[in-house]
Assembly symmetry: C2
Homo-oligomer: 454 residues x 2
Amino acid sequence: METNEYIERKRNEHLTDLYEFLRIPSISAQAEHKQDVERAAQWVADRLRRVGLDAVEIVQTKMHPLVYGQSLKAPGKPTVLFYGHYDVQPPEPLELWTSPAFEPTVRDGNLYGRGTADDKGQVHIHIRALDALRQTEGTLPINLKVIIEGEEEVGSENLWDYVNHNKSKLKADALVVSDTAMLAPGVPSITYGLRGLNYHQVDIIGPAQDLHSGVFGGAVPNPLTILTELFATLHDKNFRVTVPGFYDDVAVVSRAERKALNALPFKEKEFRKTVGAPALCGEKGYTVVEQLWCRPTLELNGIWGGYIGEGAKTVIPSKSHAKFSTRLVPYQDPVKIARLVERHIRKLIPKQVTCNFQLLSSGKPWVAPYTHPFFEVAHRALETGFGERAVFIREGGSIPFVTQMHDTFKVPCLLLGFGLPDENAHAPDEHILLENYFGGIKAMANFYQGLGKL
Amino acid sequence: METNEYIERKRNEHLTDLYEFLRIPSISAQAEHKQDVERAAQWVADRLRRVGLDAVEIVQTKMHPLVYGQSLKAPGKPTVLFYGHYDVQPPEPLELWTSPAFEPTVRDGNLYGRGTADDKGQVHIHIRALDALRQTEGTLPINLKVIIEGEEEVGSENLWDYVNHNKSKLKADALVVSDTAMLAPGVPSITYGLRGLNYHQVDIIGPAQDLHSGVFGGAVPNPLTILTELFATLHDKNFRVTVPGFYDDVAVVSRAERKALNALPFKEKEFRKTVGAPALCGEKGYTVVEQLWCRPTLELNGIWGGYIGEGAKTVIPSKSHAKFSTRLVPYQDPVKIARLVERHIRKLIPKQVTCNFQLLSSGKPWVAPYTHPFFEVAHRALETGFGERAVFIREGGSIPFVTQMHDTFKVPCLLLGFGLPDENAHAPDEHILLENYFGGIKAMANFYQGLGKL
């Protein structure tokens, strides 16, 4: 049977197998799910064996195991390193799920459940593509190395150790990752750029202890007010970041690239609907697509301090706190930007308080040309899988691993993602469009076939 | 035996009895302590009977009972209404207490425990003063009505119902309250002014749900940033509130009163030490005492939104929240000020978000002349109790009940408090200075004796 036909006929079988994977609550952040995480690793190892990979092993790390497998039976053919993760975000708040997080459920053409899009569903696309190739062609047309890790949602710390100790083993002609989103339903997409990320926390400390706002209010510094005054100055009227030097190294996007990005079928109306706010708000002089993909930002991610319970408590707290992040674009250097941001904020802290400053995580931006012949193969494979022409996009999020791999192995990175921007990857009611899941299997099988013919 | 000598000799007995009262965890805010609250009411009723009051009753309300008692056996003599409360604040966070909250413990001349200062210790001062008068003089030299309520820490809602239904029963020549603080150790104080209070909550709503700050950041409104920009504009460089009309009705404090207040033995150095911040911060042109007692404020009491847990989560939240309050002085009208504040904030809310606005509580400011002869009696009694000249002070906090009683009964209100500003009334390690407790008993006995001689 022809591969595409086989994939089409086995729709039920794909889903039955995926449900088994999704039902394992492999929540890497929660210690009580440690055994579930291990069970998921075993499940993945078993599937890699079934689709014909060799040397499949569960590699124990300081936290959660990663799964490795390979098939090197196509001499002279390209070698691909595929990366994915089997761990998932915590499902809380549970009461906001329409159907249980770990009970996969189909509604309106979407499959709902934690991990459907991020990233179990996308890992499973590859497993099913490999299965289809094995069933219809007998062997894999290329050489393949696979890493599926279990710590992506908690920082991938041990993954990087593993990579550094196994550089020659992992050597490949290209890296393939399926952990991103398509531009829109029916628009298969290849992502060639990601923003970098610095994530900070600042704590402002005023009085030595919480004070009664009646007895002390009017004569003492209020760390909450000082926090608002600090962050209010970090954007100007045009929504540009006011940190001196912040834009110094920002790459000017070429006229040609701007034109290409703005010609994409990006539906601003749909975007507005997804956001659901009364109006949008972004840096003046740039389109929404440019604001999201090509321009750096500074965003508050969390603020807290004082009384946040029911009703009233008249307190001036000792401390206030903010978590915030900068998204970075080429050629901003995260280390330099972190230093500029910290220096600027410390300068703004008034003498009535002190502050603590932490950098919680940091990752470089990444943009790469899509000129390598593998991109052409991917482009055709996506068109076959979805019946629609694929587009080249960038994305606003960050995948530090991609940048690190690119820097280490200097090979093309193909980000072939089958999620959608509104799929609630880290929120309740996470889902994947079933047509994207099935289209993905077909696309990936065709991609591996296409590489084999190069 | 002379009354003062009796009080001095019975120090151990006062404390043993007080410990019994303090050991009852009468936490009005916590449902699981409902029986403890009732036990405390019974304890108070029993003590009022023992010191010779008649018609002692435990009045059930919709929430917690209040205790009433009276002694009307001094015809032609003044009638005093004494108010206090037997309920206490929750003790949490428990781990910050040096000794357990409900196990009274003496350290360095202070008695530690929840309720020592606010307000069980101060209620007990009156109980022991009445006991001393009964033991040494046989009868009370004046007429007395007593209300000790059990809902002060949760808003006193039912108290006001009770007062409204019992106006003629409660009629008196003066109200006496012991729920305030002395200016400093060794400085007995009569409080003649309180600030009013409006307590608000504002919720800012942007995106329809939490968004990924990578995927969406740069093109959408961030309710956290908007909250900081909003509150940063509410004070000017001189720390004045920028709400138009906010200061319109603020009473100009007379030159004589300013002089008197600034001549008080207020130790700014001690105040700085208590606050413990690197520097103070207040409205330009006013001394600390004036800032605290005579000037209105706007203070944030709590802010929250987005991710506030450990580590990093890259979210742009749908909502942000702030609790804030204005402290008001004569002749600011809380209703008018609440309207001005809400109107101003609504005007500042940008079009990208919506907002909810709530007024959670409201109370008028109060300042009254201390010209009535009862003040002279109180002044002398405090001097006898403490061996130091008493002072007239205002205070920055709010006791809505005092204003309401003053408006209803139009009689002098004598705020004779024996706490101290740093006594941690609503915090861990609440305490009362033992010398204030003993001095208070003597002062109150002398006060009642003095009124009897008018």
